[in-house]
Symmetry: C2
Subunit: 85 residues, 2 copies
């Protein structure tokens, strides 16, 4: 049986990853990115790549999958920000 | 001696937490929050609170500290977004 706290961790990973979907959708749909901070997403993206390395080290599928998806979403926001600024 | 991968994890935690500082600064300084997605930060904040619970369960000081700080920064962005929208 899966530990209750492991479910909390999986739900946490799901929420902090999927949170970026409405932000990508909004930036793509409205082309409005002026209040987005480019330094935030650059620092965040580098951090996510390090979490991914750490996830591979821990052999944690949840960490690997969620950080790959979050990394793609952060990269999309960086591209949209540079394109529309 | 601390494992190299533990350092990677600590740097990752530092970067994904501190990334929100330039975003909070920008939103506070410019009062511009229209391209920020409120659903993103609400979902993200709930996710961070679950990571915090998971961090307490794992007795991971790095997870506890970084998620408390990230939670405060996300909450500040939610307040600024609601205030200036």
């Amino acid at each position: 049986m899966i530990d209750t706290f492991e479910i909390v961790g999986l739900v946490a990973a799901f929420l902090t990853t999927s949170a970026f979907v409405p932000q990508v959708y909004k930036a793509w749909k409205t082309k409005s990115t002026e209040s987005l901070s480019l330094p935030m997403y650059l620092i965040f993206f580098i951090g996510i790549m390090l979490w991914l390395i750490y996830g591979f080290h821990l052999n944690s599928l949840a960490m690997i999958v969620s950080n790959i998806i979050t990394g793609i979403l952060a990269l999309l926001l960086i591209i949209l920000k540079i394109k529309h600024q």
